[in-house]
């Protein structure tokens, strides 16, 4: 059990931090974009060129042959830099293809995805429905190469810039995974009307593939959240040191500094959890309990730090000119991505009887 980065990992972290710094969206001067942003194509090219899309995938399918640890490390820096890209989404799509697809399907789609030639994102959410790993309202008919999909997926982040979608759909009473090229997209809505699709692998393999892929997506977003929190806290601390009120710096108000200390605790708990989860998923992509616990801890730390970062900034923290609000907005979105804290607590609740204690020290 070792939490230290080796030299290669440090070099990767530094390189991604540089990249992210160069592409960080402006937050001052006139209208700056707020809310869910447009995919940053320039940043995406840089990400693809640096090989960050392939970090967690084997060289046999066009990946870099590193691991989920390196993916997490890169995603943390992208989060720190507030980059708006489909990184986590593409990782889910890639893992869906990687785990559900046949050898031919992997060869056909993965290398292009991992080198950035294509942009594939998952279509999971259905309008009017709570988060679920299963599909209900989009249905698949037929098998093999003659499958058609019917129904609506929404929202599908980055659908507007995707070349393909990986879609979960109901097949009888099960959920399968399907690939659609050139989808019919309107904003974040994708409608299928007997739309031709390719079934990825078998229905038997689909549930595990979805679980592993979403776990990897969770790792990407909690890592991104770690980067966001790791940036929001120092900004807040700096503001407390420099901003004066009633003639003294805000740091003279003990109630504020004690709360900053609590934010630090939340941050460090999240950091340990994210790093561990990266290692755990690198070891076992189906360690869904680790993924759920990460989502819970980061959900709670992220809400705490995001809300307090704004509150401690005061009115200024509400403005688009201060990055702290953008971080909070992103942390809020991450909470609602791939299942919220409640969903993950409910999932963990279902298996409490299977073990006595959570073991984090594991013999090889």
């Amino acid at each position: 059990m070792d939490f230290t980065f080796d030299d290669e990992q440090k070099a990767l972290r530094d390189a991604v931090r540089d990249l992210a710094g160069r592409h960080t969206p402006a937050s001052s001067g006139g209208d700056v974009p707020v809310g869910p942003g447009k995919h940053d194509a320039a940043a995406w090219s840089a990400i693809a060129d640096m090989g960050l899309l392939g970090l967690a995938f084997g060289e046999d399918v066009g990946g870099a042959g590193a691991s989920a640890v390196e993916l997490s490390l890169a995603a943390t820096e992208l989060g720190r830099g507030r980059l708006v890209t489909a990184y986590a989404d593409a990782m889910v799509a890639a893992e869906l293809i990687n785990r559900a697809g046949t050898a031919e399907q992997k060869a056909a789609f993965l290398p292009d995805l991992l080198d950035g030639s294509s942009l594939i994102v998952p279509a999971l959410a259905e309008p009017g429905r709570a988060w679920s790993l299963a599909a209900y309202d989009v249905t698949a008919e037929g098998e093999g190469d003659s499958v058609v999909l019917t129904g609506t997926k929404e929202p599908v982040p980055y659908a507007d810039v995707a070349t393909h979608l990986v879609v979960t759909a109901r097949a009888g009473d099960r959920t399968g995974v399907y690939l659609v090229a050139d989808p019919q997209v309107s904003g974040a809505r994708v409608h299928f009307d007997a739309t031709p699709a390719i079934q990825l692998g078998s229905l038997d393999d689909a549930p595990a593939a979805i679980e592993a892929a979403v776990n990897l997506g969770i790792l990407a977003v909690v890592s991104e959240a770690l980067g966001a929190m790791d940036a929001a806290l120092p900004m807040t601390v700096e503001y407390l040191k420099t901003r004066k009120q009633f003639g003294v710096p805000l740091a003279a108000f003990q109630t504020l500094t004690q709360r900053a200390a609590d934010m630090y605790v939340s941050l460090e708990l999240a950091r340990s959890t994210v790093l561990f989860t990266a290692m755990a998923l690198a070891d076992d992509p189906l360690d869904s309990a680790a993924a759920s616990r990460a989502k819970v801890q980061v959900g709670q730390s992220g809400r705490h730090i995001g809300q307090e970062a704004i509150q401690l900034h005061g009115g200024i923290g509400m403005t688009a000119e201060y990055a702290v609000g953008h971080y909070t907005a992103r942390l809020t979105a991450i909470e609602h991505t791939f299942g919220d804290t409640r969903w993950h607590l409910a999932r963990l609740s279902a298996s409490l009887r299977d073990y006595e204690q959570v073991e984090v020290l594991r013999p090889a």
Partner: protein, 393 residues
């Protein structure tokens, strides 16, 4: 100790309910209920309907349109208004500048300003905060120098809510720069926003909205008779105004409205073969918030009678503090219910995402202001600690 409304109050409640739900157009109320950026036209229309019925400024002196309602009636009025999603009378007019002019203004100022203020013919905004004078208002630097019968104003105000719609601004300005204490030497000035030298610059918020602004004054000339009350007494009037601001400071009716909405959203959000309301953790969170909001409403009702005109009971700090917390908790719940649908802030034309779900996150983010503006929760705690508990802090 009496549980039930008196027959009179029950009739009053019915009357208010009927008025708000029948006299204010439903489409207007639906737009208001949907949230998002408020429409100035809708706000004007609503206030004029209310004013015509004598319901826009019930807490003003009777001669200027007030009613002599009990605190309970006042609560019922607000509660029913918020429950029916009627835009409330603009606070800057009804709760801030109006009462100040009525209490301290000359007869001439009253006649000139109170009727159009009640009817929202003048849209007022507030010029108090400055970039380096937020919670510490007494540090303000905007200056007004008397030249002949005009004040010449220079400086900058900020956090000017809805200033983009405003016709006039009521501003605190420093008229006596050499006053021995910084609270002294401040005056309360009424300024036409169309005056040469006034510039409004929007401040963009993290939800994408433009509801606050910076207002710049560059050699703005203001007729001397637009100074309210006595020169140098602006601090006194501001405290009076901020006291009024705290009346009805916990928007219980709208919190309850939103919580009822949250419940219906949860029931409408499909989850497996049931709905999110079947999820025990979601249901318990709603039940918990209902209990907590009820406790807040009961506290509002219990302490409302304690407020003294112009000198708010420090207990009102409870209402502001707890009200903002619960408002934020309910909006957080709604964003969580929206779940994946909350990731899409702007719906396309043929979107199947519900409007409330798309608005959930920007609204949640927008209302982080509730614990900051109008006296932050830290300030409210200090008021409670010092004025109620006798702890200096």
């Amino acid at each position: 100790m009496h549980l039930h409304l008196t027959a009179e109050d029950a009739a009053f409640q019915q009357q208010m309910r009927e008025f708000f739900t029948t006299q204010v157009p439903q489409d207007l109320r639906q737009r208001w209920a949907a949230g998002g950026e408020p429409s100035a036209d809708d706000m004007r229309q609503a206030q004029r309907i209310l004013n015509e019925a004598g319901l826009a400024v019930p807490h003003w002196p009777v001669e200027w349109g007030g009613k002599e309602w009990s605190q309970l009636q006042r609560h019922i009025y607000l509660q029913e208004m918020q429950d029916a999603s009627v835009p409330p009378p603009l606070a800057f007019n009804a709760n801030m500048v109006g009462p100040v002019i009525a209490a301290f203004g000359s007869q001439e100022l009253k006649e000139r300003f109170l009727p159009p203020t009640a009817n929202l013919d003048i849209w007022w905004c507030q010029g108090f905060s400055e970039p380096n004078a937020g919670s510490d208002l007494a540090s303000l630097r905007t200056s007004a120098v008397l030249e002949g019968d005009e004040w010449v104003v220079n400086g900058q105000k900020t956090w000017t809510t809805l200033g983009q719609h405003a016709d006039w601004i009521f501003a605190l300005v420093r008229t006596e720069p050499d006053a021995p204490k910084k609270q002294m030497g401040i005056s309360f000035l009424l300024i036409d926003m169309k005056s040469p030298g006034v510039t409004v610059r929007p401040i963009q918020l993290i939800d994408g909205g433009h509801e606050v602004n910076e207002v710049f004054f560059e050699n703005v000339r203001v007729p001397a008779d637009q100074l309210v009350g006595e020169r140098g007494q602006g601090w006194t009037y501001a405290k009076f105004l901020l006291g009024n601001e705290r009346v009805g400071v916990a928007p219980v009716g709208s919190i309850k409205r939103r919580l009822a909405d949250a419940k219906s959203y949860a029931a409408a959000t499909r989850d497996g073969n049931g709905s999110l309301l079947d999820q025990p953790l979601v249901a318990a969170r709603i039940a918990e918030l209902e209990s907590q909001v009820a406790a807040l409403e009961l506290t509002v009702l219990r302490v409302a009678g304690n407020s003294k005109e112009g000198k708010p009971d420090p207990v009102s700090s409870i209402l502001k503090l707890r009200g903002s917390q619960l408002q934020q908790d309910v909006l957080e719940l709604i964003a969580d219910i929206a779940g994946p649908a909350s990731l899409e802030w702007k719906r396309g034309d043929d979107s199947e995402t519900e409007a409330w779900a798309a608005l959930a996150t920007p609204t949640y983010l927008n209302f982080r202001k509730a614990s900051i503006y109008g006296g932050s929760n830290e300030v409210q705690r200090s008021v409670i600690a010092s004025a109620i508990l006798g702890l200096k802090g």
